[in-house]
């Protein structure tokens, strides 16, 4: 328990958070339910700084999953542990990206005009396409988790979560935004090539260190898939939105969980 400030002295002003740490904390605040200091900015240039740290948030989430994986594996069989990891990830992210994925399925798969699709994104209720998409997404993720080779399991969890968040940065910086306002708007307004460069260096460094050439191939795969996804969305919407960023995160995560074991088999990777 912190001692209460004496009534004679006013509460000290909150210690200024250094710039680099501010970006990281703002990214944590937006992408996770992890506790962060109160009073962090929710708008303005700090969002641009936060973008550079998205891949780092992926690494933090991956760290939690690895810890849970080790602990749960002591007492539970593999398929049950994998369900536990999916539940934990949904809790840690507050279901943010899954929600975006469901809204995106509802908006993109129904045959509507772009304006109607944007309205569907805003609708917090779920439609058939969202339910069907969510169920098959979780099924593929669960199956992919069960197939991760034991020796590379921690590294692949880290790389998949890290590169999925990098893909959001790439999409935010490189493609137009579809709304006048919205959660993604602030990020888009303050997005810069510098943030993308920093995020890319961080993602490439992590992927390269953890999985070697296979990790870098994963980054290339994520970039290609993001390009395809953005093309698909932009053919149906005036621009990307926060929901489609979330959908992208889930899709890239799933793609990498499926593809990284294949890449590791055909490309040299560091042996742990």
């Amino acid at each position: 328990m912190a001692s209460a400030p004496s009534p004679s002295t006013p509460a000290p002003p909150r210690r200024a958070v250094p710039g680099y740490l501010l970006g990281f904390l703002v990214a944590l605040q937006f992408l996770t339910r992890l506790p962060v200091p109160a009073g962090l900015p929710v708008a303005g240039p700090a969002l641009g700084q936060a973008l550079a740290w998205f891949p780092a948030v992926g690494l933090v989430l991956g760290g939690f999953l690895i810890g849970a994986d080790v602990l749960l594996s002591l007492v539970l069989p593999r398929p049950v542990v994998d369900v536990g990891l999916l539940v934990l990830l949904a809790l840690l992210t507050g279901g943010l990206h899954l929600d975006g994925f469901m809204d995106t399925c509802d908006g993109l798969f129904s045959l509507r005009s772009p304006a109607e699709r944007l309205a569907i994104f805003r609708d917090s209720r779920v439609g058939s396409f969202g339910v069907a998409g969510l169920a098959s997404l979780l099924l593929v993720q669960w199956a992919a988790l069960g197939a991760l080779p034991a020796a590379f399991r921690p590294a692949m969890l880290l790389v998949a979560l890290c590169l999925a968040r990098w893909a959001m940065v790439y999409a935010i910086v490189a493609y137009p935004y579809g709304r006048a306002e919205g959660l993604g708007r602030g990020f888009k307004d303050h997005a810069s090539g510098r943030a993308l460069l920093a995020a890319t260096l961080l993602a490439a460094g992590a992927a390269g260190l953890l999985l070697g050439p296979a990790g870098l191939a994963g980054l290339a795969l994520a970039a290609g898939a993001t390009w395809l996804f953005a093309r698909y969305c932009l053919a149906r919407l005036p621009g990307l939105t926060g929901d489609t960023y979330g959908a992208l995160d889930e899709l890239i995560e799933t793609l990498l969980l499926v593809a990284l074991p294949v890449l590791v088999r055909y490309l040299p990777a560091w042996r742990p």
Partner: protein, 255 residues
């Protein structure tokens, strides 16, 4: 004019039932769509061939559970969740405490409610479990015929049971074309493919599918004034999952 004029109906069916690209530049009008009905099983066969090909292509690289999950997702994605959407809406409507006429309006609600969401999850889980349990020997044949049987079931349901709506739309146009020659032609095509893929079990599989369609339709007609586009989708999903479960049994019963 792209492609052979005689194949128009096939392109319309492909455009209506799948998200695959078609050489047909414009969306089919409801009038043109009617011509598509006899070609539904052919589209099912094409989807089955794609599944068999994907299965063969992925299996050297990926773990069996991942391949099975991807096949379930691919089948869903190729159809654009058209039929699963029908299953969700149908379950929502038949579970609602409402009169049959009022349920017709519920079918058009694009939101998913508890019964529909539950049905969609269970159906996908059932398909995944069925694929996991497929014996290697029965795998290609089962993957090939399941989508075919599902689309034949749609034609059979159009032909055999009264349609529930009066409002013009895609389903009413299809219903108008669900004549006995049309049903006979698509049944002959389906039976031919089944005979090639399954051998002596073909008749049993087609008969079992017909029985499943009949039971579903009888149940649906106790809850709705007639069948609608959504219920055809529900029947298709039911038959597809049923085929994945039962076709291997028939194959083994016939040696």
């Amino acid at each position: 004019m792209v492609g052979f004029p005689r194949l128009q109906g096939f392109w319309f069916a492909l455009q209506f039932l799948t998200r695959l690209p078609t050489p047909w530049p414009h969306p089919a009008t409801t009038e043109e769509l009617g011509k598509a009905l006899p070609y539904f099983p052919a589209v099912g066969l094409l989807l089955g061939l794609l599944l068999v090909g994907l299965d063969a292509a992925l299996r050297p690289f990926l773990a069996p559970p991942v391949v099975d999950a991807l096949l379930v997702a691919t089948l869903l994605g190729l159809s654009g969740a058209l039929h699963l959407d029908g299953l969700v809406d149908t379950c929502d409507a038949v579970c609602a405490p409402a009169t049959p006429q009022a349920r017709l309006a519920l079918l058009q609600d694009s939101r998913a409610h508890d019964p529909g969401a539950l049905a969609a999850c269970l159906l996908l889980l059932a398909k995944f479990a069925a694929l996991r349990a497929l014996p290697a020997g029965a795998r290609p044949a089962t993957l090939l015929v399941a989508p075919l049987l599902a689309r034949w079931a749609i034609v059979a349901a159009y032909w055999a049971y009264p349609y529930g709506r009066r409002t013009p739309g895609a389903s009413l146009a299809l219903k108008a074309h669900a004549t006995t020659p049309c049903a006979a032609a698509s049944t002959a095509f389906t039976l031919g493919v089944l005979a090639l893929a399954l051998g002596p079990g073909a008749l049993l599989v087609l008969g079992g599918t017909g029985l499943l369609v009949h039971l579903a339709a009888v149940f649906l007609r106790t809850r709705l004034p007639g069948l609608t586009g959504d219920t055809y989708g529900a029947i298709a999903e039911l038959v597809e999952a049923g085929a994945l479960v039962f076709v291997p049994l028939v194959l083994y019963a016939h040696g």
